[in-house]
Symmetry: C2
Subunit: 95 residues, 2 copies
């Protein structure tokens, strides 16, 4: 299993924009073969920070997701919403 | 549900130290009432980065965890292992 944590810091007042931009991404991603978990969290202490927490069965499933139309469409929309580059970490379970 | 993501960057060559320091923490934490998920991931692209991904039923359960003996013992051991302060984010589910 592969874990992905993708932290986004959005521009001031762009939370609504973010939500509308990721609706299709979330719905389509959850339908993908190989997607175990795909959730978005809002930070309790910083209203500009949102984090995707994902689980994929393997690297192949993740690669397919990153090349999907819904991922590319959402990434393009996010460009104007994010204050800085998304911080992405990919990991495997230790314990 | 409360999500906690705690990212650790360890000093060079301290992965073994880290593992032995968190065994009891992980075992005891998973026994806690209110702990849904408590997993540790190693970063695929940076062998010095490890991330706890946690889920708690509510803030009360998380607070109790943060005040537990096993958490305090592990935190004390981690002081000499971490290269910099742990980066902790607490969040709630959006979608």
């Amino acid at each position: 299993m592969i874990k992905v944590i993708a932290k986004m810091t959005i521009k001031e007042g762009m939370a609504g924009e973010l939500m509308s931009s990721i609706q299709e991404l979330v719905a389509e991603t959850r339908k993908e073969t190989g997607c175990i978990v795909y959730q978005l969290f809002e930070d309790t202490n910083n209203q500009k920070v949102f984090t995707f927490v994902e689980e994929w069965v393997n690297q192949e499933a993740l690669d397919k997701h990153l090349n999907s139309k819904h991922f590319k469409d959402a990434s393009s929309k996010l460009t104007g919403i994010l204050e800085k580059d998304m911080e992405i970490s990919v990991g495997t379970l230790v314990i």
